[in-house]
Amino acid sequence: MKALLEIEKLNITFEFNGQVVNAVKDSSFKINKGECVAIVGESGSGKSVTALAIMRLIRSNSQLKISGSATYEKKNLLNSDELSLQNIRGKKISMIFQEPMTSLNPLHNIEKQITECFALNQKSNKTRCIELLQEVGIENPEQRLSHFPHQLSGGQRQRVMIAMAIANNPDLLIADEPTTALDVTIQKQILDLLDKLRRKYKMSLLLITHDLGIVKRIADRVCVMEKGKIVEQNENSKIFSQPKHSYTKKLINSEPREKKIIKNKNEIILSVKNLSVYYKNTSSFFFKNNNNDFQAVKNISFDITKGETLGIVGESGSGKSSIAQALIKLIASEGNFFFKNKNISNLNEKKFRPFRKNIQIIFQDPFASLSPRLTIQDIVSEGLEVHNKELSKTEILKLTRGIIKDVGLESSMLSRYPHEFSGGQRQRVAIARALILKPELIILDEPTSALDMTVQSQIVDLLLKLQEEKKLTYIFISHDLKIIKALSDKIMVMRSGKIIEFDEKRKVFSKPKMSYTKKLLKSAYL
């Protein structure tokens, strides 16, 4: 088969604050006509930079050096001039970005944005726009033309981006993590759409992703990237059946181990009765208008017994995080919840403070949840200063050292600052901060979704180990069914603030009752 795009010995180096970073090292791969090539790797492995270099959206300057060649139609894209690039970009090679929220201009309507892609001489734009929107599966395309990006959902925006990308029937479509920012059910739809369009128009597709489930489904060939190097490339089936490189094996085997089911239905640790969360939408200061209030959580009741894990699944906006924040009283809520039969929902901040020791939370983004100006020692020991004021400095140091070892870090790391750590290590620090108070219940609000696959499974392993050792109870919130499956005993499926399904894990996975749960399971590529 003839190669459509051939990349040889691509090298990209950044210079930043006097440090030289080899983002891409000696990468060579080719994309044949009509083929779907996937580049897989963890964040920071140089996937996106490669794509940007092909499109020449980054160029060599004093701090950035690109060398090697990307041959398309006998021309090296990396040193062709701006004019010939203009004839290639958007016409022969087009690109879809990760974040549909920011890749559309909020000030122009859909028609204007799609029309922008057409060649100037092309007439009858409107009909073509409608055709394209139909092609990418947008309902009522005639009406949508005059809409602005904020009137569309994330999935619809990504569809519009795809419509713009295929407007000129390109030979190659580069999709840079096209589904990462979307919910699971929509992820599947978008991927199916890309696959369909690729076959229909005989396009080549360069898919950049970190999700192996996606790769397994639609890619023909896979390149595995690690730290800027392509360590292995092969046919899709061979990569998964006979991985050669150790890193590929690590990626494929990074599925987390599953929790052993513990049968001790004795003590109910937390019981929630009719919990509701409202987000006030006050339009006027003087006239109260409660009709505008948005009810994020609607009358939810559930119990958790000691030592078990409750997994809460749902799409974004389904009220998962609102439950978490309401339970530790970071946001106001209605209804009652009882911690060990004590009603804690109506306590004020001062009376609730002793309970904070027992209920801790771990947030999603380890980069945002650690104060950049404090050392790890200060961060981890902060809770002790609140709840165990009688402790001396040496005792605090001893406790933090112990806990930092428990989460798999070195005690020499205590004097460092968060920015010196990787995402996984930061999340370990966040876990240590929660654990130092010896809580009984930990609420985990998507603790792994900002992390890479291999790190995700390490964190899950750590959480399971800690749960066994310290007899913790978890409320685990995630949209990732794979991790929920590994960790949970019971699963609660949520949609627009309501519990759709709530049962033992086994029953939910084997015999889902509701159609929505079925859809979720189907789109999770388990």
Binding site: R356, F363, A368, S371, E382, V386, R433
Partner: protein
Amino acid sequence: MNPSPLTIRRLKNFRANKRGFYSALVFSLLFLISIFAEFIANDKPILVVFNGQMHFPVFEKIPETFYGGEFETEADYKDPYVKNLIDKKGFSVMPLIEYSYDTINYDLKVPSPSPPSFENFLGTDDQGRDVLARLIYGFRISVFFGLILTILSSIIGIFAGGIQGFYGGKIDLFGQRFIEIWSGLPVLYLLIIISSFIQPSFWILLFIMLLFSWMSLEGVVRAEFLRARNFEYVKAAKALGVKNTKLMFKHVLPNAMVATLTLMPFILSGSIATLTSLDFLGFGLPPGSPSLGEMVSQGKANLQAPWLGLSAFITLSLQLSLLVFIGEAVRDAFDPRKVT
């Protein structure tokens, strides 16, 4: 205490802005000189050795009778009679400039304002006072005024902005409305009216200016607090049970400090300019005190003596430009795009 890597990188960035870095050096040098103004421009000697004993007239009042004179008031060291008395039994070391800001040179050969000479390097003003001495003292008083005003208004601004931003809701709403009304008051008219009742001293002037200048910082600090109170690490600390006051100081305030420190040099130069303009109009510091604004107005009144206006102008513009350059360097140092 070892500085965090962030601080080190910020210092590095500050130094990378050469203009700002050298401005900071020059300004600190000038400020240092002006702090020791009494030892540089004074009508009293730095050191008197009399009868084998050392005396420092800058610090102590020594009556003329001590040297064998007739008056019991403090000795006038510019008087040839006193000079003779001292030289008989010892010697005295005069500062570089033998005039203080309020010393009147009675021995002028020409009517005041006299042009620059070896006696008065930058000439004298229309009351026969040495211009250079007045500039040095004037520089000091304006920098001090600016610094004190900036620090106090920053403290009030951060406090008010912090409370509004952190608690939000009704506190914020009423606070904002109050500030809108308060900032509508005409500061200059108020100062003119007050100064017709009382003779404004340094501290009264400072107090009145402070009433209005804190609002310049309040806005940014409030915005930073509003933003930072929803940061995950602030929420995490709250979930740990950390009290609000500690939350504000330990977790939220450092975020607001960046905006504050960036604005500070500009507030400083702004308050110096305000003091100068008040002095120029005659509503500022009490008459006789060394002030750059008063010098500018003298220059305006005596166009035939250009050394007055020119020296005041050069001092002022140098001072304000240095501060603005330093401000730019500070802004660079705290730029989140350069320091992450």
